[in-house]
Amino acid sequence: MAGFIARRVLLVLPSLLGLLVVTFLLIRTVPADPAVALAGDNATPEQIEAIRRQYGLDQPLLVQFGRYLAGVARLDFGASQFSGRPVAADIAQRLPATLELTFAALLIGAGLGIPLGVVAAMNHNRWPDFLLRILSVGGIAIAAFWLAIMLQLLFAMQLGWLPLRGQLSVGLTPPGGPTGFLLLDSLLHGRLDILGDALRHLVLPAVTLSVGGLATIARFTRAGVLDTLQKDFVLYERAVGFPRRRMVWIYVLRNSVVATVSQIGLLFGSLIAGAVVVEAIYDWPGIGSYTVQAILTADAKVMLAVTLLVGVIYAAVNILTDLALALIDPRIREGR
């Protein structure tokens, strides 16, 4: 298994390099000039020129890319051209928030989507199926930020059950280190008050982010279960009087989730796009809003780093997906 992971990691490297090249070229074709922003609103043309020189923006593309790669090889992603702060530090600070949010959303999506998919499939072409299909498809179609604001109005304003925005109440200070993940850190520090507060803050954003994925997961699960129900072993299991509930929820489901698991891998890939809106509305201090900021300010260093990050996450999730599939299916485990 270690060999399998090592092999996959090595295979990923060329793709990541390709990703960097593509992104670098793309971003450098953008005429937006960070020097203008750095020089401020009262800049003189001479000042802009000087800043451009200072940041090496007047160098040939190849030189710039070479320098950048040399930095990346040392895990130095440079400084943001907009804020001057080291990109790696900013990302390290924000990534845990996004991962926590995404993971929570995925948990909700899978936790609800898989059962809904199973129930729909078990009632194929009957009312529960119809209803669940319409509801789950509605999840894909709902505009996330509209839903977000409605949830805010209901749960934060009207009912007052959950906080409106943010990751933590103003009075509380994150416990700090060692992982950077708020939930994990507060647990490690034994700060259950912070954990509880952070969880309360997590609910609305995670639910909002989960609806799209939930629908996708439900659909693929439904298709998978329908497919599995056609299999001979299901007939056999019925013929020998398998306990029905266990048959469906354990024996059939495990065979059906293969496609779903691959879909979850792909869902993770579109993390940034989905997180943008949700992070903006709930003021979640994550990667999504950081990316938007970088795009609006044409901050090449940040965009490159984010791209690379998404690439790495994508690759990691793919490897994890393969591992998950190997866990589910012994035949894959044996490399057949």
Partner: protein, 324 residues
């Protein structure tokens, strides 16, 4: 006389389709005594699998039993609720050996997990004692290395081994009847021979009854004590194997035997095709293909006749003989 393990009379099963209710099984009748193997022979589409699903109570949603009785050790299975069937009949008092050992086992679970699950469900008790019993059974069905087998996955066994596993599973809860659905069609001849021999031994040893569904007359000849021939959802002839192979009564049985390469030098077939049960002809369903058909054959279904002790035949020819 002992109570038959299974006695089916006048069974009729209908299925709802766009064109209304169709009889996919129609006046099926046979019985099996304990310690006896009954071969149910029929060509594809004759309703063999519907018959099995009817007995086990796992018909598809669109199908239902319209008439007849299924007496299992004297109890009418039709009176059982779904929960009772699931708990006390399927997999416990009636064992099942499926057709295709390659597909019938869930590929993602170990043999032990799957088989013990069934055993625990039907016979609550110690996990340890279940697995001890299962290992014993696996040894009995001559599966190599039975202890290790429980921790292995289906794909790690050959077809023959998997069929042995499934036979062991069918016997796990000490059934009184085992239904075997063409259990050797997916196997090679040498393996088939081994399995058939094993089944015979087990039936003789345990005194259980077996319903052996097949299309292969050769297999029937080798294995079964009694035969019941089904055509297009109707029982056409039943009786002891040897007698039936020697002197088939029904024109269909005769034609079928004549097709067998061991019997005929040329290649004779039966003209026409098995009708779809959804569009079965009226009267005797074999009439359109029968060389000796008379106008009366299409008028009504023939009533069963007993021209010899232990043999029944559903053909108008014998009605005439009986009348005469």
């Amino acid at each position: 006389m002992t109570v038959p393990a299974l006695a089916i009379t006048g069974l009729r099963v209908g299925i709802r389709s766009d064109e209304g209710m169709a009889r996919i099984l129609d006046h099926i009748a046979f019985s099996i005594a304990p310690g006896c193997i009954l071969g149910v022979v029929g060509e594809s589409g004759c309703g063999k699998s519907t018959l099995i699903r009817t007995i086990l109570g796992i018909l598809p949603p669109a199908a239902e039993i319209v008439a007849g009785s299924i007496l299992f050790e004297g109890e009418d299975l039709r009176a059982f609720s779904e929960a009772e069937l699931n708990r006390a009949v399927r997999g416990s008092r009636i064992g099942f050996v499926p057709q295709d050992p390659y597909l019938a086992l869930n590929p993602l679970f170990t043999i032990g997990a799957q088989l013990l699950e069934v055993m625990r469900w039907h016979a609550p008790g110690e996990r340890r004692s279940h697995s001890t019993r299962l290992v014993e059974l696996l040894r009995r069905v001559q599966l190599p290395d039975p202890e290790a087998a429980l921790a292995r996955y289906p794909h790690q066994f050959s077809g023959g081994q998997r069929q042995r596993l499934l036979i062991a599973a069918a016997l796990a809860c000490s059934p009184r009847l085992v239904i075997a659905d063409e259990p050797t069609t997916a196997l090679d001849v040498t393996t088939q021979q081994q399995i058939l021999r094993l089944l015979r031994e087990l039936v003789d040893e345990l005194g259980i009854a077996m319903l052996f569904v097949t299309h292969d007359l050769g297999v029937v000849a080798e294995l079964c004590d009694e035969v019941s021939v089904i055509y297009a959802g109707q029982t056409v002839e039943s009786g002891p194997t040897a007698a039936m192979l020697d002197r088939p009564l029904h024109p269909y049985t005769r034609a079928l035997l004549a097709c067998h390469p061991d019997r005929s030098e040329g290649f004779t077939g039966i003209p026409g095709a098995v009708p779809s049960p959804l569009r079965a002809p009226p009267g005797c369903r074999f009439a359109p293909r029968c060389a000796g058909a008379r106008p009366a054959c299409t008028g009504r279904s023939p009533a069963p006749q007993w021209p010899e002790p232990g043999r029944s035949v559903d053909c108008i020819l014998y009605e005439a003989k009986a009348a005469a």
